[in-house]
Assembly symmetry: C2
């Protein structure tokens, strides 16, 4: 069952109209030579019978499944919903289905996941590589979503540029000593964001980078990051490269009685789901995932369609046009001018101030 069990096929339409199945096929696809009147009749009959083409048969004949694979390093990534939603939407608009594959953070499984998709006959795939890995030649068109600084990739947000925007924002507010917070040193994306932040802050500003994985390696997962001490050391802004880290910073600082934003500022990246609703709402940088997904799918589509003809680099990565999609700064309540009284926790806002 499942497929189009009882559904009418092309022969049914052909029989009902007294023509051949080939003509029906041509009429519906607009490919061969069919008289306009007959095309219309075929269309009408197809609609009347509720005809639905068998994708399986088409796939068998044409070698195209109309399905794209989506490979993710770790579905548990909080950014994943945004990516999946955008890709699904873009693919759906382009007439593709999306098959997901999760590599659960494991590098070996990433290869295995790709193999599974390949066996299922995907026409192409979108890969968000596990940090630090490179995607080798896969055997089908591939679009990689990573960061522009990784060579040979296709489409990515301009993480560096986003960092620059945030750096400038903080500098403009008057911050002069900023703590940059990253999680993994091996992430190209994070390194780009940090590089951009430093560039945006400019030369006159003191910076230090705190890597969460290093702190946790010593003190255990979920340990405090010691940000209150950093604040006492004179840091007035905490710029995380992910909203998850920013949230961690925000709650740790608040818990220590340090007011955000009147004492110190906190910023993130990605505009994750909670960012607008925490108190204070997070100032962050948003990726234009819809555009990124559109570009990735369009690039794949181009290679897939063209593939039958020229076969220039049949199974290599999608072209080399490294698209760089701008990011957008979203200023909310977690940033403000640094306060000279920031050193000693005091002057908490009262409950009444909340509404403002």
């Amino acid at each position: 069952m499942a497929i189009n069990r009882t559904g009418p096929n092309m022969n049914a339409i052909a029989a009902a109209l007294g023509v051949s199945a080939a003509t029906v096929s041509n009429a519906l696809s607009g490919k061969g030579r069919v008289s306009p009147e007959l095309v219309e009749k075929v269309r009408a009959k197809a609609a009347e019978l509720g005809y639905v083409p068998s994708l399986a048969a088409r796939a068998l004949r044409t070698g195209r499944t109309g399905v794209l694979g989506l490979v993710l390093p770790d579905i548990a990534n909080p950014l994943f919903p945004q990516i999946a939603q955008a890709i699904e939407n873009a693919a759906s608009n382009a007439g593709y289905g999306v098959l997901i594959a999760d590599s659960r953070g494991d590098i070996a499984m990433q290869t295995e996941a790709i193999a599974r998709l390949l066996e299922r006959g995907v026409d192409g795939m979108v890969i968000v590589p596990r940090r630090g890995t490179r995607i080798a030649d896969v055997g089908c068109p591939v679009a990689v979503i990573d960061t522009p600084s990784t060579p040979g990739n296709t489409v990515a947000a301009d993480h560096w540029g986003g960092g620059v925007q945030m750096g400038r924002h903080l500098a403009a507010l008057g911050h002069r000593k900023v703590l940059l917070i990253g999680t993994n040193t091996s992430s190209n994306v994070q390194n780009d964001r940090i590089g951009g932040l430093k560039a945006g802050l400019g030369a006159g500003i003191e910076c230090e980078t705190l890597w969460i994985e290093k702190v946790e390696a010593a003190a255990g997962e979920g340990c405090p990051l010691g940000l209150a001490e950093k604040a006492a050391d004179g840091f007035t802004a905490f710029a995380a490269v992910s909203d998850l880290s920013a949230l961690r910073a925000l709650t740790e600082l608040q818990r220590a009685g340090i007011g955000v934003p009147e004492m110190v500022s906190v910023t993130g990246f990605d505009d994750l789901i909670w960012s607008p609703v925490v108190t204070p709402a997070l100032t962050t940088i948003r990726m234009d995932m819809a555009t990124i997904a559109d570009l990735a799918v369009a690039a794949l589509n181009r290679v897939i369609s063209q593939d039958g003809e020229a076969e220039p680099a049949a199974s290599g990565n999608v072209a080399s046009e490294t698209d760089r999609v701008p990011m957008q700064l979203i200023v909310r309540q977690s940033t403000g001018a640094p306060n000279s009284h920031a050193l000693q926790p005091s002057n908490k806002p009262t409950a009444g101030e909340l509404k403002s």
Copy 2:
């Protein structure tokens, strides 16, 4: 291209061994009558040639695609990664691929998404329905993941039971006035959780329910919830039915200078990604998504396999065995005994206390 462009097919193996393609098929599937020695030779040859069966041809012949659809109300839901990962894993273990479809929170698109999956010939689907909707007969086996109180569904976490556990936890800590925080009144899941919370708290405890959608309807999205006033009114525990709301509550309270957990307690549901790393780490209730996904996929698998034979309720929902998977209470730092000094914000922890 894409599919198994150059890959060897059954005829290649058959030709190499001097037998017929049918025999190869039987040998590999173990179905017909083939001598053990020949089976072995076929296996060896297949491996040698790197044979990969064409799923498209198989789908065409058998009417089974080996693909399950996953329909989600809104991929942006922060719980989605957990669900998708669990389903993908369970399906993958059962030999299925997973095609995703997002209904973007729109009820009309939910129907359309289901239709798209159906056209692609999925063998069955897992649906997480948009709150308030019921899934009508779809035309293929369906497993619904919702809550046991929705009739006719298949598999769900025991949201009520989870609420009971949390209610008991708070009652045991000594809380006597508890604010329950939900987002949407129309969510069956949330209503069950709230029902369970009330039951777990017991009769002697004062409860009030705050629905975020109502507050936001009046004051705008992302508005403060006025929790500091509630604390002043004597509420010592804030039990949200989602970690997202819990986080919102936690930050709002912290911002108002109300210490968690020494003044008031905050709890959530779902153990979302940030819950262990915020300060204080959230006490919450975790669903056993892996088990839920296994049950859903197993139920689908059963109906799909059996389908060719009996056709008892061919295209209805998967059996009526409403599985109820227990939830697990995770106690972290956001809950504690209520403090009589809770009414006036004071005695903030200093930065030094953080490490403890």
